[in-house]
Every structure is written in C-alpha cells, then in structure tokens.
Amino acid sequence: MTAPQMLDTSVRTEITVEAPIEHAFKVFTEDIGTWWDPTHHILQAELQEMVFEPFVGGNIYDRGVDGSECRWSRVLAYEPPHRVVFSWDINTSWELEPDHDKTSTIEVRFSSQSADRTLVELEHRDLDRHGEGWEGMRDAVGSPNGWNLAHFAEVAAKHQS
C-alpha cells in the first residue's frame, strides 16, 4: 500500500453562527443535546439525553432511556469561550474504544467576528489512529442515511416555518 501516507488524516469544516461567542460555545458544549443527531449514538437503548461535563477530564456521554450510559469522549481541553478539545473513543465498528492510542481527536475553535457573529472551526484529526477495518464506516457511508441529507432538510424546513 503506497497511497495512504499521501492522504490527509483529518477532516476540517467551519460555520458562521449569528450568535455571540459565549452563547455559541455554550450551545456547542452544555447544550450538545439540542443539536446532535439523536439517532447518532451507540447505546443499545433509545437515547434519553446527552451530557457534556464542562471540565478537562470530564466526559461527553449518552444516557439511554433504560439508564445505561456510554462515555464515548474525554474532554481534553476546555477553554470557554474560545476552544474545546475532545476525543472520539469510538472504533470503526461503532463500539467504544478502550485503547486511547486508537482514538481520534476533535478540536473546535470559536472566534468572535462581531458582537453577534461567531466563526466556529472544527478539526477531527488523527483518523489514522483508528487503524484498519472500518467496515462499519463503510456500511454507514453506503447506507441511505449515511449520505442522505433529506432528514436535515426536513429539520431545517421545520425550524424556518
């Protein structure tokens, strides 16, 4: 295999939010449950709530309706309202990854563009640490929901009306 070392091992994206920086940071962290896709969790049970523990060493975790918990992320940096870094402790078969050397990292930076406008830049890096055998991801990419933006379009339309 020769191609992989040429490949980028991170994904980057950004979005501008019409809200003050403190508010944007709070919604991203504390209020993560208000925007995270509720179908996107690895609990056996249905999702009851998502909790973001706002300190270094805390976890982001999902709680199921049956009381079960999945602590899928460690908070690695917490610097409100400018920066938050957390881990992605989920392997490519959609299971919790206990080996921290095989997890990737997400860094989110917030910068004020005006009193009511915030630029949010996100980088999900070290993806190569997940190693090989990402069949689960392949299935997700190949499934209708993996690519389908219809759900998002529905939500967007609902909130606009």
């Binding site: 191609a3 994904v11 979005i15 508010h23 997940h130």
Partner: protein, 105 residues
Amino acid sequence: MAYEADGLAALADPTRREIFERLADGPHAVGELARGLPVSRPAVSQHLKVLKAAGLVTDRPDGTRRLYQVDPEGIGALRAYLDRFWNQSLAAFKMAAERSSKEVR
C-alpha cells in the same frame, strides 16, 4: 497531485459518489457499474481511476475482468463519512445556537 489524492475531493463529483456507494455494497466490475449509470464505460473507468488514486477504491483481477471494491485499508471512506457527519452536525448546531440566541434576547 495531493489534491487528486484527496478522498473528499474525489467524492465531490456526484457520479463518482454514486459509483462509490455502489461499491460500498460489494465488489463490482466496470461493466456492471456502467450498466446502471447514465455514463459510458470509459467514463466509469476514468472515475474509478480517480477513486483509486484517492485511496477509496482498490482493484484486483478476477478471470478476464477486474473487480473494484472499497479499499478496506484506506482511511478515505472514514474521512468521507466524518466530513459529511460534521458538516451536517455543524449545520444543526448553527440552527440550535441561533434559535436559542434569539430567545435569550
């Protein structure tokens, strides 16, 4: 060249994404892929070449033809998946933040 090797750039093309999604269901030969698509066989071959260069797809001989499949060792698909995931998530985050920001004021 670095740009060409980027899995996300490779999947920006709708026909290539369609081909990649079909390969996600299992290995296929060029002819099989071309049959269900509104593009010519040489065009499909060209798209496969780009997907291969991007580390998303590999090929192997199977008798007289070549079979193409999603590369199980490449991280291209993982990146493609997460790119999609974070773009959708940030869009939802933006809506939530702007909605609640208006409520606060």
